[in-house]
């Protein structure tokens, strides 16, 4: 099976460790990961902020770069959602029939990490070891665009040594929302405050999620308050082993 990694522009720049974890994890499970160098960005920021014509080159590039793979893995629920749900909207509005057709071929091969592991590769126990108290935040796009359901929790429950604690009001949005956090900073802060209160209430050492963007927002708040609670992408927990701890 040819698995390509779409790292996402944000992870590429800010969280290479997440990409390294995905690679280590999939290779440990016996798969070969390819990293097409021509990849850039899914276009979500432009699309969601209303800059649709600017999104078109990114849709075109993604579709060309990731054509022909059996599966494309994305360590981000929101970027996977953008590709699966919105690329066809951009293609239909600003592209041509050929692009629409190409998007239709590529988009269904794109999987968020937990989907790839559970649905495509058929594993829930990935042989990870992570001896810490952890709580999981289901990010909105994973939850409601991709409907990943409890796949991430099933993966986490199979991790050895983990003390997985439930996050109260887990399904409430953390208030990030891309440019929402800049345009409506005060509302975003109010939502963040409630999310942090719930995280702190669990007594967890780490908050994990399938999206580093949400984790940057929540983690930035937890850091500012000097709470000592860390944030870590799901991939990094799943990649951890006794021999190779994160």
């Amino acid at each position: 099976m040819r698995i390509a990694l779409f790292i996402t522009c944000f992870n590429d720049t800010m969280f290479p460790r997440t990409g390294q974890a995905v690679t280590a994890l999939l290779e440990r499970l016996g798969h070969t990961v390819e990293f097409p160098q021509g990849q850039t960005c899914c276009g979500q920021m432009h699309f969601n902020t209303g800059y649709r014509p600017e999104t078109l080159p990114m849709v075109r590039r993604f579709t060309e770069v990731f054509a022909g793979y059996d599966a494309v893995v994305v360590p981000s629920g929101s970027c996977a959602g953008m590709v699966r749900d919105h690329h066809r909207v951009v293609a239909a509005q600003y592209g041509d029939a050929a692009l629409t057709e190409a998007v239709g071929r590529v988009a269904p091969t794109v999987y968020e990490l937990s989907e790839l592991l559970v649905d495509v590769l058929g594993v829930t126990d990935v042989g990870a070891y992570f001896p810490h108290r952890v709580t999981y935040h289901p990010t909105c796009h994973s939850l409601r665009m991709l409907r990943v359901g409890d796949r991430p929790l099933a993966l986490l429950r199979a991790v050895k040594g983990i003390d997985l604690v439930e996050l109260p009001a887990a399904e409430s949005c953390c208030g990030f929302g891309g440019t929402f956090a800049l345009k409506n900073a005060d509302v975003s802060n109010a939502m963040l405050a409630d999310k942090m209160r719930h995280v702190l209430g669990t007594g967890a050492e780490f908050l994990t999620a399938g999206d580093n963007s949400c984790l940057t927002h929540i983690g930035g708040g937890l850091s500012r308050l000097r709470t000592g609670v860390g944030t870590m992408h799901l991939a990094e927990i799943l990649a951890s082993t006794e021999g190779d701890p994160r």
Binding site: T13, H86, L182, A185, S223
Partner: protein, 509 residues
Amino acid sequence: MSGADNVVWLGSPAFPQAARTALADTQLRANLRRATGTIRDKRLAVAAELEDWEDLRETAAAVKRHTLRHLDHHLLRLEKSVTAAGGVVHWAADAAEANRIVTDLVRATGGSDDETREVVKVKSMATQEIGLNEALADAGIRAYETDLAELIVQLGRDRPSHILVPAIHRNRSEIREIFRREMGEWGRPAPEGLSDDPRDLAEAARLHLREKFLRAKVAISGANFAAADTGTVVVVESEGNGRMCLTLPETLITVMGIEKVLPSFADLDVFLQLLPRSSTGERMNPYTSLWTGVTEGDGPRNFHLVLLDNGRTATLADEVGRQALACIRCSACLNVCPVYERTGGHAYGSVYPGPIGAVLTPQLVGIGSDTKSGAASLPFASTLCGACYDACPVKINIPEVLVHLRAEAVEAGRRKRVLPTAEALAMKAAGAALSSPGRLAAAQKLAALGARLVARDGRIGALPGPFARWSASRDTPLPPRETFRAWWRRTRTPANEDDPATGERKGRG
């Protein structure tokens, strides 16, 4: 508030500014959290009771889609059947025309001036949308709201902040103060020593309203639904005050948005199951009033139906945006919205707050119109978390319409301005960088360098410009020295291999 286009309260600031004011009101936030949390849990529980809940949603969505596609046809059928049943149908293109029609009808009811100068009202979004109470006041006619929550808002000289629970932002001690202070101005004063016990408050409202029900010659209502085949109009409510208005006065005037029509009486089956469960978390509505024209010796002797357009036809022309017209005003989306829960309804500057308001208001007033800049900020008042779409009983894809309207707002801005905004310039620059791996790598190097210049202890504190408010409450992590792309090339790509995508040579020399 007067004249046309009352959907948006003129002079309201854009959402981010209005939200800041609301967020500072801790009492408001506590009231809202309690109220929306309670309704949210009740709705989930009663929706889960129905095994065919998802089928009901799908059926309702299909009926609405069909109706909106053939709206002209069903409206003409409705006009015919209402007329045949003894009612009179009026068509209003906008708020001003609707207000004029209603004012003339109230004046023409005959009787002495004193009797005709007041009307009782059933809670109605359509009449709020057109600013009817204010238009009637301008014509010397006093309109009394009879819904308990609307009464609280009217007596408090306030604005409704929720579609279903207009006074959701008030707690009971605030309500007691309003009753004590204002009831005497409008009619029977509040009883001496009124407590803030809900039972006492309800009794005070009952006594205050009873004399109005018994005296009024004219009632004005909205409509939840109207069946085109029979001409039957439907109002659902919880208190019975609406039914008093719908049955006691001689003349009944109903103002109804044209999107409220349903093809047939049988369609009510689905909607009367969905609406109470989605709105108040009840299995069925305490009072469901249905009337068909006029009936000799029973109920009002004159019935007028005002069919209101006020931006709906223009909304219908938008293939993505038109689904907002399927809304049955249940407010389930408000009660699950994390933004609404923190800001309340007033921040939306419109009679339609929350997620549905954020998609409906800009469409009804026109997103590119100069005087309504507040409306253009509404589609951005969401994190696109999607909780509203999941809750909507008629499956309006609110996130889809939000991003669609954001694109329209940006395009409208581009058409109006000679110079692009700072945001447009930033998006253009980001777009250029993100369209090529070579340019992206260069931008990443610049960002990492810049970040190291401003960082302290591996974290970035204060940031300039549009990031200032972000950095006021959050640290930003420092980008690592090596990007993933660079790590991969360093560790995985064989030396001296040309990169086919970028054309860049990996090896030196």
